[in-house]
């Protein structure tokens, strides 16, 4: 090669890189539709997918039946209204559909590109003016559409759970919208791996590894990490009986028990007669050294978990709006058994972290026959005396309330979408023609 040719080569490399990029990322509606049509025809014609859909339908159906029977009998025992049986059934079915969706989604894309390559159908398509993005996006859209059909097939069972009451259409729509997005992410991951690996077994395994990491590792890792953020000898300020007063009061209680052998005291209306009155006037601030777990430092690791994303995005049943007590998510979750709210409350509570101040004093009032209730909309806890009057007690500690404010799911969904976008980019990058490098063992056609 002469030196003149060498300079020619460098000059052309620049223009070549530019035009190749434009060509790679071009996206037209017609091109996209051509690929989507091709992919859908190819997939829908095979009998296998109908069989899979039938199996899917019956599995979800069986699961729904179990859940509904279980929740119905549970609410019968607990005497709860059906308004809570509905959210419980809906939550369980939604989580199950999401889990099953995450399991089947890789099947739609994890062998899409390397499968076509091995069949010899990819290169002829690449040789057409279709851009790489059109081919990859077409495959993604088609796979996603098929996966969406599976999700939609679960809708009748969701409607069934809605019959139990307490579930609004908005809730169903939002849950499904988020699930569609998450399934699209898994499809993109599979597509990326199918472009990276030549063997379909490798790409399938890797896709499942990612799905498992998202759904399981994001829970295990922060759970184990709590060990690292558990701190001994942390000082917590407590408003309550000072240690010596506490000790004296305990002595008094012990003495009372010793003197009185009748253990059948009714605690229904506060402390039984003769029970030592707590010296609430002695309540004051003092410091206690204790072990504290800083969950607020590790909680964010669960954010990308698909189940957390859906649970956090799911609106609360409309019945909760009427009840002021339900402003506290944790309270609602505990009472209703709604698994979506339960996951949501757990995550958000972990995000708040350990308490640095505590009011132990207020609970002593129950021994005096007072009714302690938190005014969740505000920051005060009110006491109600047995006669209905309200003493002027203001707790110096703000109650910890987990509310539905400041949703966390946008972060989780965002992280997932970034992951999907990355794998989409990988797929496009790997299929960019003309190929500069080919990995070992990769065939073009």
């Amino acid at each position: 090669m002469s030196s003149i040719t060498d300079t020619d080569m460098t000059a052309s490399t620049d223009t070549r890189a530019r035009s190749t990029t434009m060509n790679t990322w071009g996206l037209s509606w017609r091109g996209l539709r051509t690929v989507v049509d091709l992919e859908l025809r190819q997939r829908m014609r095979s009998k296998r997918w109908l069989v899979a859909l039938a199996v899917w339908f019956s599995v979800i159906g069986a699961m729904t039946t179990l859940v509904l029977v279980a929740t119905a009998s549970m609410s019968r025992y607990s005497g709860d209204t059906e308004a809570t049986a509905g959210p419980m059934a809906f939550g369980l079915i939604t989580l199950f559909v999401l889990g099953a969706g995450l399991v089947i989604a890789p099947a739609f894309t994890a062998t899409s590109i390397n499968g076509d390559r091995n069949q010899g159908t990819l290169a002829t398509l690449q040789a057409t003016p279709l851009s790489t993005v059109e081919i990859v996006a077409g495959k993604l859209v088609a796979a996603w559409a098929v996966a969406a059909v599976f999700l939609v097939a679960a809708l009748p069972f969701i409607v069934w759970s809605m019959l139990l009451g307490g579930i609004s259409v908005v809730q169903v729509l939002i849950c499904f919208a988020v699930m569609f997005a998450l399934i699209a992410v898994v499809c993109a991951v599979g597509l990326g791996f199918s472009a990276m690996f030549d063997r379909s077994a490798s790409s399938t395994v890797m896709t499942y590894v990612v799905v498992a990491s998202l759904s399981v590792l994001t829970l295990i890792v922060p759970a184990l990490a709590t060990v690292l953020v558990t701190v001994d000898n942390t000082t917590v300020r407590v408003y309550g009986l000072p240690p010596e007063a506490e000790w004296e009061y305990q002595q008094a209680i012990d003495d009372w028990y010793m003197a009185d052998q009748d253990l059948d005291h009714s605690w229904e209306n506060g402390a039984p007669a003769g029970f030592p009155a707590p010296p609430v006037q002695k309540c004051s601030w003092h410091e206690v050294t204790t072990q504290v777990t800083h969950t607020d430092r590790v909680w964010w690791m669960v954010l990308p978990n698909p189940f957390v994303v859906v649970s956090d995005a799911a609106p609360l049943p409309s019945s909760t709006k009427a009840d002021p007590y339900y402003v506290d998510l944790g309270h609602y979750a505990a009472v209703s058994g709604d698994p979506l709210a339960g996951i949501r409350a757990t995550v958000r509570e972990a995000a708040i972290g350990p308490e640095t101040e505590r009011d132990d004093c207020i609970w002593l009032y129950t021994y005096l026959g007072y009714n302690v209730s938190q005014e969740y909309s505000g920051t005060t806890i009110t006491l109600t005396a047995p006669d209905g009057s309200r003493p002027d007690y203001v707790s110096p500690v703000e109650p910890r309330v987990v509310t539905t404010g400041t949703p966390v799911w946008p972060w989780g969904l965002g992280a997932n979408l970034l992951l999907g976008a990355f794998f989409f980019w990988v797929a496009v990058h790997r299929l960019k023609i003309p190929y500069k490098r080919l990995r070992k063992g990769t065939r073009v056609a």
Binding site: M1, T5, M9, S12, T15, R16, S19, T20, N23, G26, R30, G31, R33, T34, D37, L38, R41, Q42, R45, S46, D116, Q119, G120, T121, L122, A123, T124, L125, Q126, A127, T128, P129, L130, S131, I433, P434, Y435, K436, L438, K440, V444, A445
Partner: protein
């Protein structure tokens, strides 16, 4: 149809131009310096043993593979700088045409017509025409997986032709085709060449190219082999002679002092002649000598002889 051998630059319109192209896969040099032009309006044969880099070269011409070095243009478009337009100008038929199992022949063709930007109705019309041309109309509605290998090759050719490309790249197009299809393939290629298309056919089944090619490019071990080196060697070739009276023929040859070899178990003999003129002279002499000669034909095709004359080992 008489081939004059590859003569780069002689014809006016270069349909395909390959200059100093190299391409490695790891340590394997698949294409190691190829230079040739294939003129428009002609069929150019790409001849070489297995593993000589034919398929790799076609991948570069189809715009799928980037050469490490050198320049590749099709229909005056640089395959790298003008990749998309070059791809549109080319119809590429790979050696193995994979098909979508559950798509019908019509659907495969319409899909590709759509990919090349045709409207839905134009795509359907084009698919119908091509299926008719390739005698696949009866199979139009059948899934492609039921096609035989030869039918599949015809569908592959139809697919490569779907957008009426200026340049046609065919990789072993006739493998698996029955004799009738091969003849039709030749006719198709000829008529396309007459319309001014550039056609590059790679094959190692030389007999199928013999009657259709105008130019030949020989490749061996990733390199184009100079046609001039090949031509002179190819001048001397074996001819097969046969007469109704084999004894008279042998006597005639003995008298004329022409060395011959007799093939076992048949009445034909093989003589070595250099050039057409020698053949003409032999025929004249035989007729004058009243030998009942009924067949005189070259033993092997020109391509085959040239190919064998390359005298390079298979890789």
């Amino acid at each position: 149809m008489a081939g004059s051998g590859a003569q780069p630059g002689v014809d006016a319109q270069p349909g395909i131009s390959v200059r100093g192209v190299r391409r490695c896969f790891g340590s394997v040099r698949a294409v190691d310096g190829m230079t040739f032009t294939a003129p428009a309006g002609a069929v150019t044969a790409l001849v070489g043993p297995n593993g000589s880099g034919k398929t790799t070269l076609l991948l570069m011409l189809a715009g799928l593979l980037q050469p490490d070095e050198g320049e590749v243009t099709v229909a005056d478009l640089d395959v790298l700088r003008d990749n998309e337009r070059a791809r549109t100008a080319v119809g590429w038929m790979p050696d193995v045409f994979g098909t979508w199992d559950s798509l019908t022949c019509t659907e495969i063709l319409t899909t590709f017509a759509r990919a090349y930007g045709m409207s839905a109705s134009a795509a359907r019309a084009r698919a119908r025409d091509l299926l008719d041309q390739m005698h696949l109309t009866e199979l139009a509605g059948r899934p492609a997986r039921v096609l035989s290998r030869g039918q599949r090759q015809r569908l592959g050719l139809a697919r490569a032709l779907v957008h009426d490309p200026q340049v046609l790249l065919l990789d072993e197009p006739a493998s698996g085709m029955d004799p009738r299809s091969r003849i039709e393939l030749r006719d198709t290629l000829r008529s396309l060449a007459e319309k001014g298309k550039t056609i590059l056919v790679s094959s190692h089944i030389l007999s199928e190219l013999e009657e259709v090619y105008n130019h030949a490019v020989f490749v061996s071990r990733g390199r184009t082999v100079d046609a001039e080196i090949v031509q002179p060697v190819a001048a001397e070739r074996g001819w097969r002679l046969e007469a109704t009276d084999p004894v008279a023929l042998r006597v005639f040859l003995d008298r004329a002092d022409i060395p011959y070899t007799q093939t076992s178990g048949s009445s034909e003999v093989i003589v070595q002649l250099s050039g057409w003129d020698s053949a003409v002279q032999l025929v004249k002499a035989a007729v004058t000598a009243d030998v009942p000669l009924h067949t005189i034909a070259p033993v092997a095709g020109r391509l085959e002889e040239a190919y064998l004359a390359l005298n390079e080992e298979r890789v």
